[in-house]
């Protein structure tokens, strides 16, 4: 069985600094990390390999980004993936989710066939959550989104539980299939020292647009259908009403109840 995991490099959330004056994110000198939700996808792949009694399972981590994004693939290898691949080319720059997905799908076709493809629920920077399902569609395979557990997997089918509004649903799909876990699915393992050493020795090949035989018009800015035309940094202030402690608890509570009433939020309490 062959498994591919899509991993993205993002600015590290723990090192994100906020400029106290402007209330905006400081991007300079911020460290990069593997998108936290992708760790659950990697973990899911590793557990599939561990659970399978017969036949070999091979896991490839694939990332697309600038040259330094190699680190994301290497990190996935240090967690236990067998190999990693970086898709990198200036011509990929500025890709929206449509162009990103098309490019990733091309690579999956070239490096495949894969039986299971895993992706993260969403990346912490672009935050669209669109890439996984779109890749599945470019490959014309089913997308199993919001998966909280993989219940069965054999040579022909996969059965999963999905976490949706108001409950869980069970779904069976033929493989190959795209599986997108939610956080609740597992607790990602830390990489071991041995894993780190292995990652150091593992070469991460780099593929460009020519290697993927990808038409320039279909990737990068040219292949994108959405354009960010303006960016603003929201500064939130509201001119609210203020009640000082000298007013006493009774007045404070009355102010709260009145506001709840005005906003029609007391129905449940009645």
């Amino acid at each position: 069985m062959r498994i591919a995991v899509l991993v993205k490099q993002v600015p590290a959330t723990d090192s994100v600094k906020i400029d106290e004056k402007t209330g905006t994110m400081v991007r300079e000198g911020v460290e990069a990390e593997l998108n936290p939700l992708d760790l659950h996808a990697v973990e899911a792949a590793l557990r599939i390999r561990e659970c399978r009694s017969e036949g070999a399972t091979e896991i490839t981590a694939i990332t697309m980004g600038p040259p330094q994004a190699k680190k994301a693939a290497a990190y996935a290898v240090s967690m236990g993936c067998d190999s990693g691949v970086l898709l990198s080319d200036k011509r990929f720059g500025g890709s929206d989710t449509l162009a990103t997905s098309r490019t990733l799908a091309k690579a999956l076709k070239k490096l495949g066939p894969f039986d299971i493809i895993l992706a993260g629920e969403r990346a912490t920077d672009g935050e669209t959550g669109q890439v996984g399902p779109a890749v599945a569609e470019f490959l014309r395979i089913p997308a199993l989104t919001y998966v909280s557990s993989i219940d069965e997997l054999d040579e022909g089918h996969i059965t999963v539980t999905r976490s949706v509004e108001g409950g869980h649903e069970k779904m069976k799909a033929p493989i190959p299939a795209m599986v997108i876990p939610v956080k609740e699915m597992n607790i990602p393992r830390l990489c071991t020292l041995g894993g780190k050493l292995r990652a150091k020795k593992t070469e991460i090949p780099v593929l460009n647009a020519d290697d993927l035989a990808l038409d320039e018009d279909l990737t990068g800015l040219k292949g994108s259908a959405t354009l960010v035309v303006n960016v603003t940094y929201p500064q939130m202030t509201r001119e609210g009403r203020k009640i000082l402690s000298s007013a006493g608890t009774k007045d404070a509570v009355k102010a709260i109840v009145d506001l709840l009433e005005e906003k029609n939020c007391l129905e449940a309490a009645r």
Binding site: P133, G167, K170, L227, P234, V257, K263
Partner: protein
């Protein structure tokens, strides 16, 4: 504007044989675009046994409803849905297609985007029409709420986006509205799915996840201990709300991570957000900019949370909380005695 008469479409969501309320929110979004564009607003209704419900969409603001009613659509299976949406968009060529950012919308819309090669903007909080080009401007938060991006779609129509559930109120139901119901029979080849639905288990826990909650009662380090923190639950229960928390409260183990609001937690869009003993660090504020009304209780008159609150109460969180709970309970029991009379 280019003079075409292309429609604005919204994708209705169906649960069983009923129309899910988000479908009506979508029509409120759609009206704000269709009116200045002077084009009809249509809703797409795909399901099994749903045709009798189509009038509800007209009453909620639609000028037309395209109905695809077939037993094959009893369950929501993404491959089948993508097929039918491709068929409909090819056949009728709408200008804009809006869906809700639910687990369904977030699954089927990216797939449709790939299938028909159209752009898709995620999780919008604002939509407007550029008066010059007549194109859709889609505004969405990204990077943990730290940026708002305006996005335009180029190339093939429809211009597609998902919008956050609960970010707009449905229009008032108007049963006298007239609209056109259009039944579409898709080719047989589009019916059927590779997927098999095996069953649904409803959640047993009470209270909605914070992202769906209309009322959130949040607490921070100022709640002092787990016992005090538990009082927030009582208030949440009284108001039909959900408990939220600052990262400090989560780190102290008073609540699970799923309740964390902010940059490294969840962004929320409730009608009421109440913050007890939360200082209002920028990382926390990042998660509540979509709240309609913010009420903050803090004993520090300089607490930054007061800068973003609609109602700021300077005082002891526990004292205010106890008094508020008492007052609501009292009112409740008074009402009950009144109705019993």
């Amino acid at each position: 504007m280019n003079g075409t008469n292309k429609e604005v479409w919204t994708l209705a969501e169906v649960r069983g044989k009923t129309i899910h309320p988000v479908s009506k929110e979508l029509l409120a979004w759609g009206r704000e675009l269709a009116d200045p564009m002077r084009v009809p607003l249509a809703s797409i209704l795909v399901g099994s046994g749903v045709a009798p419900r189509a009038e509800e969409l007209i009453a909620a603001g639609a000028d037309k409803v395209y109905i695809v009613d077939d037993p094959s659509f009893e369950n929501f299976l993404c491959d089948e849905q993508v097929g039918i949406l491709e068929y409909l968009t090819d056949k009728y060529n709408p200008s804009i297609l809006i869906a809700s950012a639910t687990t369904r919308g977030r699954t089927v819309m990216p797939m449709l985007s790939a299938r028909i090669g159209c752009g898709l903007t995620a999780d919008c909080t604002e939509l407007s029409i550029d008066p010059v080009s007549g194109r859709l401007i889609q505004t969405r938060p990204a990077i943990g709420g730290n940026v708002m991006a305006d996005i335009k779609t180029r190339g093939r129509d429809p211009q597609m986006c998902t919008v956050r559930p609960k970010s707009k109120r449905p229009l008032d139901t108007d049963r006298s509205r007239k609209g056109e119901l259009i039944k579409v029979s898709p080719p047989q080849s589009l019916l059927g799915s590779a997927l098999k639905f095996l069953g649904f288990t409803p959640e047993t826990s009470v209270g909605l996840p914070i992202q769906e909650a209309e009322i959130i009662i949040s607490g921070g380090k100022g709640m002092k201990n787990a016992k005090n923190f538990a009082k927030l639950e009582e208030l949440a229960r009284l108001l039909g709300g959900t408990v939220g928390a600052s990262r400090m409260a989560v780190d102290l183990g008073w609540v699970p991570y799923s309740a964390q609001v902010g940059l490294s937690g969840k962004s929320v869009t409730p009608r009421i957000y109440m913050a007890f003993g939360i200082s209002g660090a920028v990382q926390h504020i990042a998660g509540i900019s979509g709240a309609e009304t913010i009420i903050a209780v803090n004993h520090d008159p300089e607490a930054p949370i007061f800068r973003v609150a609609d109602l700021s109460i300077q005082g002891d969180a526990m004292e205010i909380l106890d008094a508020l709970i008492d007052s609501l309970k009292k009112e409740q029991s008074e009402r009950w005695t009144l109705t019993a009379d």
